[in-house]
Amino acid sequence: MSATTLDSSVIELARALAAREVSSRELVSTSLERIAARDDAYHAFVTVAADQALALADAADAERASGNATGALLGIPIGVKDSIPTAGIRTTANSRLLEHWVPDHDAAPIARLRGAGAIVLGKTNLNEFGWALPTDNDLAPTAKNPWNPDYAAIGSSSGSGIAVAAGFVPAAIGTDGGGSTRLPAGQNNLVGIKATHGLVGRRGMDTSWISEISPMARTVADTALLLSVMADPGGEESKQYGAAPDYLSTLDNGIAGWRLGVPKRLIEGAGLEDEVATAFEATLRALEGLGAELVEVDLPGMAQARAANFIVLNAQAYSDHAVSLRRHPELYGESARVYHWMGAFLSASDLLNARAIRHRVRELVQDELAGVRAIVTPTSPVVTAEAARKPEAHRRGSNAVFTSPFNLTGHPAMSVPAGFSTSTGLPIGVQLVGALFDEGALFQIGAALEQVSNWSSHRIPEPNAPVAEGQ
């Protein structure tokens, strides 16, 4: 097998597998070899399910040889965030509390991916329970960004992002409760989408009303394919919208004449780093070049939505851990223990206020989207995880300024590659936000951008090579 085969897209791999140019065993073996050789530097994976993956690869190859293969993802290895339950594979959430937990079930979208033939190669790293500052005393060490391992990988789906960027797997699944898929997608030159709330089921995981199980991959088409498999059009909140989504058929239709909203005041108020501002401006010019009309829009309620989302995250974190925090405090990391207690100091009134804001701002955003097909923002105002986590600068959480409001409102939002920071070598993302259940528009915009930018063809520097300037 070519050394670069695993760097191909999911769709290219599916075609190569169908044409018998490569076997699933070869793909999975190459993934395992790469992880063994390089993951000590990045810590993308908490658990690698090598034996199970190889057995499933052989089964996929046998199914294909029988001539009865049907799954869109048959034999393709993927990574899954270690907070998402996976049947038969240890699921720790990078916590000592769950260090030995092997679920007997898959979360619903993982079952759908496996039903389409995807092979869960392993479980990817995160900060403990996705709700703590990472430390080297965690069950799995702090994830490093393979574009420049001097920097921590942004999270919380940090391992999923770096597993794809490092070429360990062609796609991975994260969760996104405030930006935790879009932010690592942006910082790893990937496409990552948080779908409309309710489109992707959460059965077998939890009942969060702001977090989504979310795919990320190198290309827009791959991400669209993954979401079309994960989506549950018969789900409680999405069944009113009817048929299963077919994002791929409209992907190449272009965006000429589309009106796209730019919330200028929101963006200016967030204080972008210069390199983010430069990449964002270049993306706006590219969108104009594609025939889109950019219009300035107001987005009222964003500050409140961001704060309300934070209230809900805290309430949920405490609610999930109230018993364990008292019974097994020693099994929490120092940071996780503190963060999970915070929600204990919120009232029912606080949570009801957050819910009221959710309904009102959802309407306001939907009204704004009646006049434009999508809204464009940077994914993060800062490039590095370190800038986002600097306590003395009071910047912690500031990187979710554009992402978290749309967790609260439930609107679909996707990060697409937008260039690189020349000072760090780290990628920068741009976020596209669409009307409820209009993921297709986001994929169409992303695909148009992909064709003119070519960022998706960029790969990480060879391990140990110096970071290139001006990528």
Binding site: G271, A303, N314, P329, E334, D350, N353
Partner: protein, 54 residues
């Protein structure tokens, strides 16, 4: 409060400043409920210490 909730003393010392910020945030949110139709600076409520990343 810490004793009533059974929070360990060492945790409480780290937790208290963050809880204070969280309460300010929640109370500020309640005050700004009527202002939802206006565009206020997005950093107005959350740029406080104690807000975890991502």
């Amino acid at each position: 409060m810490a004793e009533r909730l059974d929070v360990d003393r060492d945790v409480w010392e780290r937790l208290y400043p963050m809880v204070r910020d969280l309460r300010e945030l929640a109370d500020g949110l309640a005050r700004l409920m009527p202002e939802l139709h206006q565009e206020i600076p997005v950093t107005a409520l959350v740029d406080a210490p104690g807000v975890p990343a991502e």
